[in-house]
């Protein structure tokens, strides 16, 4: 059976070239300055300084984080009830609902986002509807609202499914036991259901927050060119401004922020697990 081990080698080689080397290149470019050709490098922290000491760029970073947090919060607020309701249905209905929730995610994200640009315009569907009541036209496009709407729309199914998975794995007899012991429905929820479904919530948060921080196409389509996020700056450095050193440094900063977030969520997750075990 040991001869099967050799089968790993092709992939090992491949992934070193295609996965490890690009990461090394990013590190290389981030810590040097001197242009886009590998041959003319000088070590420098200039790129990091340039980003971290510039008020405008820091505001962009703050905005990306803010949008990501808002998106995540809305996803949790909408996703948890949905997951809870689905988890209470019968087996057959459950399966059907899971399919209904996940089907949209199979369709290209851009295609679905593009549809929103039509719906939200001043002469779009929503404003026409409001117009029937004499309201508006309300400006939806190119606002915070539109961007968050687009992001939530894109990520909500993932949050729902994560929480749902956690809820269905839960042992319902625990709730029965709790209520037998005298807890009212609200206490049952806050003391039993909620903590046990936390792993799902946390992995849902991970699946929503992390991509939100780095996204740039949804903000561009629904927020316009002036809706600048960290991803937008990185994109401009690589595709228009041609400053790969600066772009790599920003990517690295973003990757570090994300790694820290993941580390925190992992710790919280472990903590929750320990609590659940000890309780």
């Amino acid at each position: 059976m040991k001869q099967f081990r050799k089968m790993v080698y092709p992939y090992l080689l491949w992934s070193t070239v295609v996965i490890a080397v690009p990461m090394l290149l990013i590190l290389l470019y981030a810590f040097t300055s001197g242009g886009n050709s590998v041959s003319k490098f000088m070590f420098s922290l200039h790129n990091f300084k340039r980003f971290l000491t510039d008020k405008t760029f820091l505001e962009v970073l703050y905005r990306s984080l803010r949008i990501a947090v808002e998106t995540t919060v809305v996803c949790v607020l909408l996703g948890y009830p949905a997951a809870y309701i689905i988890a209470k249905y019968s087996e057959k209905v459950k399966m059907r609902w899971v399919l209904i929730i996940t089907l949209p995610t199979w369709i290209n994200m851009l295609v679905r986002t593009y549809a929103w640009t039509g719906i939200l315009q001043e002469d779009g569907v929503i404003n026409s509807f409001l117009g029937l009541f004499g309201i508006g036209p309300v400006t939806f496009m190119y606002t915070d609202f539109a961007v968050i709407l687009g992001m939530v729309y894109n990520f909500l199914p993932f949050m729902i499914i994560q929480i749902y998975t956690s809820l269905t794995k839960m042992d319902y007899s625990l709730i029965e036991a709790a209520s037998d012991l005298g807890a009212n429905p609200r206490k049952c929820f806050t003391k039993v259901t909620l903590p046990l479904s936390m792993p799902g919530v946390i992995s849902g948060i991970t699946l929503v927050f992390l991509p939100s921080v780095s996204s740039f196409c949804i903000p561009r389509m629904l927020g316009g060119g002036s809706y600048v996020m960290v991803g937008t700056i990185i994109e401009s450095q690589f595709l228009t401004a041609s400053d790969w050193n600066f772009g790599s440094a920003i990517s690295l900063i973003m990757a570090i922020i994300i790694m820290i977030s993941m580390y925190i969520t992992k710790k919280v997750d472990k903590g929750e697990k320990l609590e659940a075990i000890n309780a």
Partner: protein, 270 residues
């Protein structure tokens, strides 16, 4: 709150949720048949945007590239991923952890970081950006998902069966194809499905590594959506159709296959 109220409340909530999730899709489909260019006024039923779409060379090329890339990337990454996963299951701990760490990178990293890394790689080794680079990039991020899908299945396998097969005279190749692979088929299939979706839907990575006029559907929508272009609605509807058919096939074919097998088994008994 009384139980009845709760039930009504939750039903209303779920209906609203469903409306929210499907509104854009329905809107796109409905307006792809719109006579006029308007975003709101449905002035009449017409197929003209569909004929414009089919006549649009760029759109058809993008569709072709998207499908071709997805099919090729899925096929290659499924094969390579499965082979690697099997090899991994027999490997030493050190090798396992190295590969697992490497696999984590494209999954955990924001797409844009992976994308620029690849951009710089292709530039450093002087490969011209185009379909080939897009394909390489897709294979790169699909294989880890295949491996992740197949590994759990492999762990539940009984290792002795393959050993037994070889003791009975099977070559390692036969042990592989006739024993191990069939047993982790569900994992392989779900890995392939994930790979296909990831490739078909991809935007960020493709956007950075493609060139030479090659674009996929996501890139096309991103660049063409600046103008009101109802042909995009037609294209979107076509995509929805393709995906729905694919999903139906994926769900229906296995059940037909298993029904056939069951029937055969029953017939045999009789």
């Amino acid at each position: 709150m009384s139980k009845k109220k709760k039930k009504i409340g939750s039903t209303v909530f779920m209906v609203l949720m469903m409306l929210f999730l499907y509104a854009p899709i329905i809107y796109t489909i409905v307006f792809s048949f719109n006579e006029g260019k308007s975003l709101t006024n449905f002035t009449g039923f017409s197929l003209k945007w569909y004929s414009k779409m089919f006549a649009n060379k760029t759109m058809m090329e993008s569709l072709f590239y998207t499908i071709a890339c997805a099919v090729l990337a899925t096929a290659i990454s499924t094969v390579v991923g499965t082979i690697t996963a099997i090899g991994l299951s027999k490997s030493r701990r050190a090798v396992k952890s190295v590969v697992e760490q490497l696999n984590q990178l494209p999954i955990m990293n924001p797409e844009i970081v992976t994308a620029i890394g690849l951009l710089m790689l292709f530039s450093a080794i002087h490969i011209e950006k185009g379909f080939f680079t897009m394909l390489i990039a897709h294979i790169m991020f699909c294989i880890p998902y295949v491996i992740l899908s197949v590994m759990p299945k492999l762990r539940t396998l009984n290792p002795n069966i393959a050993e037994a097969a070889m003791d009975l005279g099977a070559t390692p190749w036969q042990a592989l194809t006739k024993v191990i692979v069939p047993q982790c088929m569900p994992g392989i299939i779900s890995g392939a499905l994930i790979a296909f979706t990831m490739s078909f839907d991809d935007f960020v990575i493709s956007y950075f590594v493609t060139g030479n006029g090659v674009s996929n559907i996501s890139i096309l929508v991103y660049t063409e959506s600046r103008r009101v272009n109802p042909s995009i609605n037609a294209l979107s509807t076509l995509i929805v159709l393709i995906i729905t058919v694919a999903l139906i096939l994926v769900n229906v074919i296995p059940s037909i296959a298993s029904k056939k097998e069951a029937k055969l088994a029953v017939d045999k008994d009789i």
